[in-house]
Symmetry: C2
Subunit: 321 residues, 2 copies
């Protein structure tokens, strides 16, 4: 069955694997695309030549469509964009910045452009900039996050009420039930992050993957709001941030504590004490490391079961009306 999202990307199921720093290399992206969803390479943690290598390996590993996620704050973003064009990638997700900056340039080169937002205002701004679809990401999402703290459950219907282009929900979705909830709220598809961190094919360190399995409800928190808000698994580094906050730190103080390679240290190198461990609230529901194929199969099975269950709910009956 085709819907507006599967048609846009020429994929089988309206599910996008999020392009996450230190997690989403060619292995994860190609496995996702081969499983019938849209795989994304996360360029935010890659040097330009590393991105080129990942794109080339991904093209060998799958003949299905895949894309690249590019955070707009990337220092040499021009280089990344040039490589994406040179290597023939046809789908780009931009995030964390102004959708006006790159959308026209990419569209002129035949790229399908999706922009990630966390507020209604930026959703409409991205639509006006000419993107093909938007990802709306709620407060519960892992990684970098919006200042308004609007949750997926409230953000999706508010954007759906005003947006004309396709809408992809993100934040807090790891199961078929979550996907059904998002579509009930008006989403045309879903982007899933945390669930794919705990996949066989994710490039996350195995210690980080295990930490995701152990995470329970309440184990993540949004912090560093003065810099770029980020949702972290609570660990020593998170406690260090909290300790620093008791001293009324300046932005510089916070930047100094954060340093340069916390995310790599935590998620890629597996230092669970000193590293920055970005993960969503839904990690509390994730308790297995599985292959991407099995994760997708499970989500689809859950979605169908949820649909059957919901179809039996008859709150109103003809007599009641």
């Amino acid at each position: 069955m085709q819907n507006i999202i599967t048609k846009l990307f020429n994929i089988r199921y309206p599910i996008i694997q999020a392009g996450m720093v230190w997690n989403s290399g060619w292995k994860l992206a190609s496995a996702s695309s081969n499983a019938g969803i849209l795989g994304l390479i996360g360029a935010g943690s890659m040097y330009p030549d590393v991105l080129r290598t990942h794109i080339r390996k991904c093209k060998i590993a799958t003949d299905k469509p895949f894309g690249v996620n590019v955070p707009m704050f990337y220092p040499n973003i021009e280089e990344l964009m040039q490589i994406i064009i040179e290597e023939g990638v046809k789908i780009v997700f931009t995030s964390a910045g102004n959708p006006n900056t790159w959308t026209s340039w990419l569209k002129e080169r035949g790229i399908t452009v999706v922009h990630v937002v966390s507020s209604l205002k930026f959703a409409l701004k991205a639509e006006a900039a000419g993107v093909d679809a938007i990802v709306a990401e709620g407060f519960e999402a892992g990684g970098h996050n919006g200042r308004d703290e609007t949750t997926t459950l409230t953000l999706i219907p508010m954007i759906h009420a005003q947006l004309k282009i396709p809408l992809i929900a993100a934040g807090g979705i790891a199961t078929g039930n979550g996907m059904m909830a998002a579509m009930a709220l008006g989403a045309d598809g879903v982007q899933i992050g945390s669930r794919f961190v705990a996949s066989v094919e994710s490039s996350a360190h195995k210690a980080f993957k295990k930490a995701v399995l152990l995470a329970k409800e309440g184990d993540t928190q949004l912090t560093l709001k003065e810099l770029a808000p980020v949702r972290l698994l609570k660990n020593k580094f998170y406690e260090d941030i909290n300790h620093l906050y008791t001293t009324t730190p300046s932005k510089e103080d916070l930047k100094n504590l954060l340093g340069k390679s916390r995310a790599k240290c935590g998620m890629f190198e597996g230092d669970l004490e000193e590293g920055e461990l970005e993960i969503g609230q839904i990690s509390g529901l994730i308790d297995t490391i599985a292959s991407v194929f099995d994760i997708v199969s499970t989500i689809l099975k859950e979605f169908d079961e949820c649909k059957s269950r919901i179809s039996t709910i008859n709150i109103t009956t003809t007599n009641d009306q």
Copy 2:
């Protein structure tokens, strides 16, 4: 049609009208019960004799079941509980405290007891205390809120996976689509607050009701986390809090700014500058003041339309499996 929630309360639809301070008097509660959902009187903002009056008026205004919401931090809670028993109320929702304190006492007197929680840990604690059902309220909810900041989309499935008693979802739900999303996630029913603030029968000041209609995405924020976290519509009082935060205030400083009657001043007396305006994120989706009957009818209609729409989504087909 009956489900576990409609049977528990002997109501027609598995919807609870939240018992909100300064909003949920006998008019709102009786209108809700007469519309086939469960009406709740919010005792948190009532002196004991005022609660007695509201219960008596509610009994005259409806022959359907209704209940009382009692926040556990209420100073003379024994008086409230005594009045509830004396007046023959059969349903009590307890919130903001330890479910062990009153559950047995109420159950021994034949009361159906529901406890409101914002975390998995307290959901299981309430279940162990012997309550009949729990309300799980996400971060997007208005009013007082949990410290873990877990959103409805992630909290409901995490609790559903472990809870054996009926589960009512709250926070971010104002429409039939939101209700469907909650039930897809595993809720047996929903509690709705903000939508009923903007009802004809709510005792909120008309200026506050209008402010709710004008609220957009991003216009609320959770604050005062050092006292009891509360979600507020951003106004002068909210800005005053933020200004105070720049000075590293003590708890006492925050308490002094909050003062004694901010909530009454804002929600009941309509002072939009100096008052405390408690409302959920979903206020951004609310744009009419309607009667409770019309609100409930709309939610049921939306729910049915959503069910029809969802039933046509065929992501997997027999050939795909």
